[in-house]
């Protein structure tokens, strides 16, 4: 363990040096202000590699001013993550491309490369160039060796224990850092917090070069998922939009502008007879025989219309439809079948009480009292209060008290009790 720690801290100190060079990018606007800082090590904390990648953060002048750890912590924690989800595809690719140099999982890297090449190779190439400028070859080689070694140990380790090691390492590094006297005392706490926070986000850069891998992987999956969801949403919205437009067109076609009775009747018919499959057969047959719908049909066909004084519906020859004999066809009392049809929907399971004919069960048995009384009647014995209330004064006490007598006779503390029992049972002391 100690060795592992040593190795970690060694790689840590190396990476600090590495990072120092890495972050001195000429065009970075923060250089001037950063000169005021006592040590370049600061930048490692304040400008993790990710910021290099994410151009938005590079250009963020607020992060380059006279900063302190607390400020950066709050910046880090309060950062609007949605921006990252919204950044262009190119930036995302760059993000993935950076992993290429971690050299941890080649298969994964190949997948990424394939993925990236399929979409935009320019960004990648550009980034490689940028990266190569930043990282001299020999440093990189060294780092690779370190990394692969570290990655090996990382693989051997249990994944869950890994962050612990890292945090210990980081603490160690921090104490080392503190000893150099580069950081003012009040900053200890925020720095510490920041470092842990930093590490959780997988941006420790030096010590945890492998850690970004899984995090990026997750991030990648997340982004991918979000992208897919976005596409799905867009598709759905497009569908709805199309439907609405179609409907609008249909309405335009089917409904004439005038609100005449015929047009209304047509509308009613369309509503009432459409979607016949969504209704039960019974309802459909009723609808087919409906006089109202027949009337609607004849109104729509202009066989029946309002008369001139608008108080009657008349046929073409001017007779009131109420005097036309065939129109009111419902006969009083002319129904068939069970007047109370049970709910037809759902599964048609056999009725478990089918063998009990209707009326065989008296309604009095439906209530708890009714059934209790039925039980009582069928038992043939009157249930009395003694059946459930125990009376300690009666015979059940006999056996118990004689037991007491046998067991505790002669013992003082039970004498009184026994005497009481005897008196109670009518014995004379």
């Amino acid at each position: 363990m100690l060795q592992a720690l040593d190795a970690d801290s060694a790689s840590g100190s190396f990476s600090q040096a590495h990072a120092r060079s890495a972050f001195q990018v000429p065009e970075r606007p923060s250089v001037n202000s950063m000169k005021a800082m006592p040590d370049q090590k600061h930048r490692l904390l304040f400008f993790p590699p990710k910021r290099n990648i994410n151009t938005q953060h590079i250009m963020d002048t607020a992060s380059c001013g006279p900063s302190n750890a607390l400020q950066n912590l709050s910046k880090h924690t309060q950062r609007d993550r949605s921006l990252q989800n919204d950044i262009s595809l190119g930036a995302r690719q760059a993000l993935f491309a950076s992993n290429k140099f971690n050299q941890v999982d080649r298969n994964l890297q190949n997948d990424f490369a394939a993925f990236n090449q399929g979409q935009n190779s320019f960004q990648q190439a550009h980034y490689e160039q940028l990266y190569n400028q930043q990282f001299p070859a020999n440093v990189e080689q060294q780092r690779r060796a370190e990394d692969s070694q570290w990655a090996q140990s990382f693989q051997d380790l249990n994944l869950t224990s890994q962050p612990q090691n890292l945090s210990v390492a980081s603490n160690q590094w921090q104490s080392q850092f503190m000893q150099q006297g580069n950081v003012q005392q009040p900053q200890i706490r925020p720095l510490n917090a920041f470092a842990t926070n930093f590490m959780r986000s997988g941006m420790t850069g030096n010590m945890a070069m492998t850690v970004p891998q899984p995090t990026h992987q997750l991030e990648h999956q997340q982004l991918h998922k979000q992208e897919a969801e976005q596409d799905l949403f867009n598709q759905e919205f497009a569908n709805v939009e199309r439907e609405l437009q179609q409907e609008a067109r249909q309405v335009d076609v089917t409904v004439p502008e005038d609100h005449s009775l015929a047009a209304t009747a047509e509308q009613v018919l369309a509503v009432m007879t459409g979607e016949a499959t969504s209704r039960s057969a019974e309802t459909n047959s009723k609808f087919q025989n409906s006089n109202f719908l027949k009337l609607m049909q004849s109104i729509a066909a202009k066989e029946v219309a309002l008369n001139d004084s608008q108080d009657k519906l008349v046929t073409r020859d001017g007779t009131d439809i109420r005097e036309v004999p065939e129109m009111p066809a419902v006969m009083a009392g002319g129904f068939s079948g069970n007047p109370l049809t049970r709910e037809a929907r759902g599964s048609h399971l056999p009725d478990p009480l089918a063998h009990i004919p209707d009326g065989a069960l008296s309604p009095t048995y439906n209530s708890p009292l009714g059934s209790a009384m039925f039980v009582q009647k069928s038992m043939g014995k009157k249930i009395q209060m003694q059946d459930w209330v125990e009376d300690y004064g009666m015979d059940s006490e006999d056996e118990l008290s004689s037991q007491w007598k046998a067991n505790f006779d002669g013992e003082d503390m039970f004498m009184l009790r026994n005497r009481e029992n005897e008196a109670y049972m009518g014995y004379d002391g």
Binding site: E247, H259, L261, S278, S290, P328, V330, A332, E343
Partner: protein
């Protein structure tokens, strides 16, 4: 099952008398209410099981709803298609004893106050609700809600004021956005009214308040709310139904009241529908009228354009309303009454008969008195 045929007139509304166990009033209209006269039938159920017409009143326009007086056993009030409301006395022949004509369009519902018993409420297609006393010439109060133009059932009319941004490119000929289909007094409070609106809203009004509108929400996803009723046993529970074919049971305490204020000017209604306590699915077309049982807080009767009546059991446990184990549609429907051969428009429970008896009427000119199955289930 007993039946009566209102020959030549299509039934719209039916009510049991609150004084007699055998008297019914039926509001009917000729030509399915499209054009023509109306007729009010006063029916008696005889001991031999036949139903006979005591008397009937002819009106100039179709009658769409009926309500018996709670104070006078012979009086009932009827809602007419010409915008008038007429008070009939069974002892006085041929003509109504009172006629109010304030509504501009069809009056679609009348409901007598069951607590106060002195006043009644009417709801009209002109977009207003009016409160009336039977002995006054003018209405006591008019409630007219703001129209919500954002729902599907009430799209922006060409001349109407609408939202600044067009919500849809869909053209439509629907001009019913202001219609109010039903307004019902609470059976628990003398001054609370709930109303069902064509723009899918349900509104609760308190007549005592300076701003009577207390609660306003979209109940049926933008489709027209056709009917509403108060539960007779649970004072905060209402049920509503409409074009979306579902009957929804609401607890008004669970619906947040959104009141506009000067500091936060926002619409006084919910943009999204709140969640109902329970929902009954099963009708195959729009539900036209619902009624909670006067004998059982869980039973609800509904009638629909699918030509059937259904009886539902609301088994939701108030103390465990999110354990929706019994929220199974078919289990909640305890009976279907399918004898009507046209749309069923009106239904009511018998108050003084056996619990579970009810009456329904529809466009097949039939009035059926029947017993609901499994009423103990």
């Amino acid at each position: 099952m007993l039946s009566f045929r209102t020959t030549g007139y299509n039934g719209y509304g039916v009510k049991y008398s609150p004084f007699y166990d055998n008297k019914l009033a039926v509001a009917t209209a000729a030509n399915y209410g499209l054009v023509g006269n109306g007729r009010l039938y006063i029916l008696s159920i005889n001991n031999d099981g036949s139903i006979s017409s005591d008397t009937h009143y002819d009106t100039q326009d179709g009658l769409f709803d009926i309500a018996w007086s709670e104070t006078h056993e012979n009086q009932c009030v009827a809602a007419s298609g010409d915008g008038s409301i007429k008070l009939f006395d069974v002892q006085v022949g041929q003509f109504p004893v009172m006629n109010w004509h304030e509504h501009q369009r069809e009056v679609f519902s009348v409901n007598w106050n069951m607590v106060d018993k002195t006043n009644f409420v009417s709801a009209s297609w002109d977009g207003s609700i009016k409160i009336w006393l039977p002995n006054r010439q003018q209405s006591l109060l008019t409630l007219s809600p703001e129209v919500d133009y954002t729902t599907m059932a009430s799209p922006v009319a060409a001349t109407a004021k609408g939202p600044a941004v067009p919500l849809s490119n869909k053209t439509t000929t629907n001009t019913t956005q202001t219609c109010i289909y039903q307004a019902v007094f609470s059976p628990h409070s003398p001054s609370v009214v709930v109303s069902a609106h064509a723009n899918s809203h349900v509104m609760i009004w308190d007549l005592r308040a300076p701003h009577p509108l207390q609660l306003d929400y979209v109940a049926h996803g933008g489709l027209e709310t056709l009917t509403i009723d108060w539960n007779k046993y649970r004072s905060a529970v209402i049920a509503s139904s409409g074009v979306d074919k579902s009957v929804k049971v609401w607890d008004t305490r669970m619906i947040e009241s959104v009141q506009p204020s000067a500091s936060a000017p926002m619409p006084s209604f919910h943009n999204a529908s709140p969640a109902p306590l329970n929902q009954f699915m099963g009708h195959e077309f729009a539900v036209r009228r619902i009624s909670w049982s006067p004998h059982d807080g869980a039973s609800l009767l509904s009638c629909s354009y699918d030509m059937s009546c259904r009886v539902w059991q609301d088994h939701m446990d108030d103390k465990a309303r999110f354990l929706g184990a019994r929220r199974m549609g078919p289990l909640q429907c305890t009976g279907v009454f399918g004898n009507h051969r046209e749309f069923v428009i009106g239904c009511d429970w018998s108050m003084w008969g056996e619990p579970g008896w009810c009456v329904s009427t529809g466009w097949d000119e039939m009035v059926y008195v029947w017993d609901t199955p499994n009423k103990q289930a």
